[in-house]
């Protein structure tokens, strides 16, 4: 289109209006984004910075003593290597097992998709603690697995299945598989169904169409899932602490020991630096290879994977995919013809069986907890008798009821504060032309990237000096820091789908800005806002790392109380609490899904 020549305007007049407009705009930006930036500066940047500084400064000034201690013996480097090994193994299994699950969810019809997704989400939202505890029971000497193997006569005496690499891996995969599935799913749902079909019309057999067309398009999801799982795994301590032996100690457990037992802040800081460096290296490598923009999963896959890979790598990759395609097609050809002729849109029985087996494996431990919590025979399988004793114990124990109320309070506070601070920031990032949007977004999402343990220790140090340790308010602030990125991301997605012409329509029909917000914008965004509130609430409700240091005794939150109990002894009381938590979360997801679907139906 031709550009018309801009006519002359009076320069003076334009400059004044432009300047006053720019000034009022800057105020609006500050009011909308300021609170979030301040929160992150005071409760993320400052505490983490303090912790890192503590590793090189002590009372007598600059020192490298903590680092000397770190590298003096092989112990700490060994722990780092073990951490990396466990994290890599977890990532690999999660991606490989999660891919078919995400694929099946993305291809099946609406109703079956809802069912599959419900089980993934239920597992995703069930507390890490509950799931890890369930595996202790399941793999124990008198657990389901041992009893089953004994009754089948495969073994003659109970095998020791716990406290080894295998049990840690099972626990870690159980913990992080839902995350991997959901991340890959978000990419797969955006792949055009017509592309594999087009490949088929162009002469590609099903195997070739999958490996050469679908798989490369789904790679950004695989990469995003990989890094999300790896970074979460590397900062994990619940699973290795509960399911691992001495040889499965992970780096975050060292930090906890330093803070809780020896109060050696400098050394805790030094270990944190080590952990942070590893995470940063992973992110830089990821960025070099694939580009960080793929992290959100929404980025265009065309720009992500292929262009950044160097020529030869791409050629080898292409050759491998071609080979895989040919092999798959040979296998399909070798199958009985009845199987070959089935509708390619329909998922194979093998795939369905695999996915359901996996979903059962990740959900079963928690569900098996329910009958045990009503049994009189302790946590031994099979459950015996029926009693409500354990539930009565929980209900009559002030420690548990206090903890529940505390978690509820902190969760609601976190949800509210994160919404209040995150929503305007999301508006700003989607609707305004604020400069440096990408950098702001990276800053806002940084609480997800920095290992939770580092944030927690830094916060503990700062809270201790501010007198905020043990206070609900301090915990709400801390949880808001880690929950707010999810609120911003959810609200940004919701806002991107919001048709601003509806606002225009309302205004043209006579609605003033406030009336437009009240009658149109908020009601339509309502479901999205509520689900991001729930997300923040659930994040806080299940948060242990920050609560581990910042609470204790009568002001412990539910996860903290759970942790204290489970590290002392494994009792049926815990099973009762787990069951309550499981049902509570199940209800929450049910409500959230209903809301989401109601919003999507419009």
């Amino acid at each position: 289109m031709a550009l018309a020549k801009a006519p002359a305007i009076e320069p003076g007049q334009l400059r004044t209006t432009a300047r006053s407009r720019a000034r009022s705009q800057a105020w609006t930006w500050a009011a909308m984004g300021g609170p979030l930036v301040l929160l992150l500066v005071f409760f993320l940047v400052y505490p983490v910075g303090q912790l890192l500084l503590l590793s090189i400064y002590n009372d007598s000034g600059f020192t490298l003593a903590p680092y000397r201690q770190l590298f003096a013996s092989a112990v700490y480097i060994d722990v780092l290597l073990i951490t990396l090994k466990i994290s890599l193994a977890t990532t690999l299994v999660c991606v490989v097992v999660g891919y078919p699950i995400a694929y099946l969810i993305s291809v099946v019809g609406k109703d079956r998709k809802a069912t599959l997704l419900f089980w993934v989400l239920l597992s995703f939202w069930t507390s890490f603690l509950v799931r890890a505890f369930a595996w202790i029971v399941l793999l124990g000497r008198n657990g389901v697995i041992n009893k089953l193997l004994l009754s089948l006569g495969i073994i003659s005496s109970p095998a020791s299945l716990l406290f080894n690499f295998g049990s840690v891996l099972v626990g870690m995969v159980n913990a992080l598989l839902p995350l991997a599935v959901l991340t890959m799913l978000s990419v797969m749902e955006n792949i055009d169904r017509n592309l594999p079909r087009a490949a088929a019309t162009l002469g590609a057999r099903p195997g070739m169409a999958f490996w050469k067309i679908y798989f490369p398009l789904s790679l950004p999801g695989v990469a995003a899932a990989g890094i999300m799982v790896f970074v979460t795994a590397i900062g994990f301590f619940i699973v290795p602490a509960l399911l691992g032996g001495r040889r499965e100690t992970m780096i975050t457990q060292l930090i906890i020991d330093q803070v809780q037992q020896t109060l050696n802040w400098g050394f805790a800081g030094a270990i944190s630096v080590l952990l942070l460096i590893v995470v940063l290296i992973v992110f830089v490598a990821y960025d070099r290879l694939l580009g960080l923009s793929t992290m959100t999963g929404a980025a265009a896959p065309r720009r992500a994977a292929p262009s950044r890979l160097a020529g030869p790598v791409q050629k080898i990759g292409d050759a491998v995919l071609t080979l895989l395609g040919m092999i798959s097609d040979r296998i399909i050809l070798a199958l009985p013809s009845r199987r070959r002729d089935r509708n390619p849109e329909q998922a194979g029985l093998g795939l369905q069986a695999f996915v359901w087996t996996m979903l059962i494996i990740i959900s079963a431990p928690t569900i098996l907890m329910i009958p045990l919590s009503f049994g009189t025979g302790g946590l031994n399988w099979p459950p015996q008798g029926f009693t409500l004793h354990w539930y009565e114990t929980v209900l009559h124990s002030p420690v548990w009821t206090q903890a529940f109320l505390r978690s509820l309070l902190v969760g609601l506070g976190t949800g509210g504060l994160a919404m209040l601070i995150g929503t305007p920031a999301a508006f700003l990032l989607v609707r305004s032309n604020v400069p440096g949007k990408a950098a702001w977004l990276a800053f806002i999402l940084s609480p997800i990237v920095v290992p939770r343990m580092i944030i927690a220790v830094g916060m503990f140090y700062v809270f201790a000096r501010m007198g905020l340790v043990g206070s609900a308010f301090g915990l709400i602030l801390g949880h808001t820091v880690v929950a707010v990125p999810y609120v911003v991301m959810t609200m940004m997605a919701v806002l991107r789908n919001y048709d601003t012409r509806l606002d225009h329509a309302a205004q043209s029909l006579g609605a003033r800005p406030f009336a437009t917000l009240r009658h149109i914008t908020f009601p339509i965004l309502g479901a999205g806002m509520f689900s991001s509130f729930l997300f923040a609430f659930a994040t806080s409700f299940d948060e242990l790392t920050i609560a581990l240091f910042a609470t204790g005794g009568l002001n412990a939150t539910l996860p903290k109380q759970f942790w204290d109990e489970v590290t002392l002894q494994v009792s049926p009381v815990i099973a009762a609490v787990s069951t309550c938590l499981f049902i509570f979360m199940g209800l929450l997801i049910f409500v959230a899904e209903r809301l989401r679907r109601r919003a999507a139906a419009r």
Binding site: M1, A2, L3, A4, K5, A6, P7, I9, D499, R501, L502, H504, A505, A506, Q507, S508, L509, G510, A511, R512, A515, H519, I520, P523, I524, A601, R602
Partner: protein, 364 residues
């Protein structure tokens, strides 16, 4: 029903260096149906948004009945808008959607209900009042958007390609419907479309826009028979444009010579003044181009293609002189017509009253 006139003076809108609307002036009479027509990106939607108050002009003024509304917000202008995608509120029933502007104006409950029902009657959909927008077909949604707009009797109604998403049959039907409502209510309507046929059938006047400026403003007849530029001739209906030079101008028309030909012929002007020796384009509409077998026409050419598009049959002809563009002739389809053969040599002729002289160049 109230109705107002609209006056736009020197209205300009820029986005950075891009001029979306060059200074534009326009008068719309009370009760007029004016269409803003143009290709996408021509500035018609920008002009509409500025009039509605959904975007703010860099310069110029907008007057409704001589009152300056340039800086009043959209909700104070009393200008109704029917949006391209209808913009029905998804969380409200049809009834609530239509009642929304009345609620915003604090209309009393009884009155509000009566007027909502009336608006639904006007668009002939009283039975869908309790439904949600997603439960309606595209055509029904369109009518509800219309009802929501007329219910509060705005002085001026703006419509932004309101029929763009409908199929051909429904579109024809809705065109009649909108015309009927315009007749019944007498409201001033400014209608945006890129469909020239729609513009021709519906408008009192058409404002043809191109590259952020008005190309020509006039009645459909003006634009069709007396285009002021090659762009207008090309955009409104099919046309054959031949290069020619003016020999002399008299009271009845012009003497011209087709490029590189000796024989003079006659043409009529389009209202602009021409000077002897000036290069022009000669516009002949396809239905006025006669195809003859005998070699006694003004031009000769070979038949390239024959297409029957329902009521009309089109002949595509490549002139003998290769530097001339391909020509198209059209005549009413008849089953008894003698068949043409592709590649056959034909002669082309036209009445001089149907040959319109247009100044060469695009004018901008």
């Amino acid at each position: 029903m109230t109705s107002s006139s609209l006056r736009v003076k020197g209205l300009t809108k820029r986005y950075g260096d891009f001029v979306a609307l060059a200074p534009t002036s326009l008068d719309v009479a009370n009760g007029e149906f004016l269409t803003l027509l143009g290709p996408s990106g021509s500035g018609k939607t920008t002009l509409l948004s500025l009039i509605a108050g959904l975007a703010h002009p860099d310069e110029g003024h907008i007057l409704v009945d001589d009152a300056d509304v340039t800086h009043s917000p959209a909700y104070d202008r009393d200008i109704g808008v029917v949006f391209q995608n209808y913009a029905l509120f998804p969380h409200m029933t049809v009834e609530d959607n239509i009642a929304f502007p009345l609620k915003m104006r604090k209309v009393a409950d009884a009155d509000l209900r009566r007027r909502t029902a009336e608006a639904l009657e006007t668009v002939r959909l009283p039975h869908v009042a309790k439904r949600y927008p997603r439960e309606l077909s595209g055509g029904q949604q369109q009518r509800i958007a219309l009802a929501r707009c007329i219910v509060y009797r705005p002085a001026i109604i703006l419509m932004d390609e309101p029929l763009g998403a409908l199929d051909k049959k429904l579109r024809d039907q809705m065109q009649l419907e909108i015309k009927r409502i315009h007749r019944e209510l007498g409201t001033t309507i400014i209608y945006v479309t890129h469909d020239q046929e729609e513009a021709m059938t519906m408008s009192d006047r058409i404002c043809l826009m191109n590259a952020g400026a008005i190309e020509q403003l006039g009645t459909p007849e003006d634009l069709y028979f007396r285009p002021q530029s090659v762009f207008v001739a090309d955009f409104l209906g099919e046309s054959n444009l031949l290069s020619a030079t003016v020999r002399q101008v008299d009271a009845q028309g012009l003497d011209i010579v087709l490029a590189d030909q000796a024989a003079p012929s006659r043409a009529v002007g389009n209202g602009a003044s021409f000077a002897a020796g000036e290069p022009i384009k000669l516009m002949v509409r396809p239905q006025n181009l006669h195809v003859e077998d005998a070699a006694n026409g003004k031009l000769t050419g070979r038949l390239v293609d024959v297409m029957i598009s329902g009521s009309m049959t089109r002949l595509y002809i490549a002139p003998e002189r290769i530097d001339m563009p391909q020509l198209v002739a059209a005549y009413p389809t008849r089953s008894s017509a003698a068949p043409y053969e592709i590649g056959q040599l034909v002669s082309l002729d036209w009445n001089s009253a149907d040959a319109v002289a247009i100044r060469d160049g695009r004018g901008h």
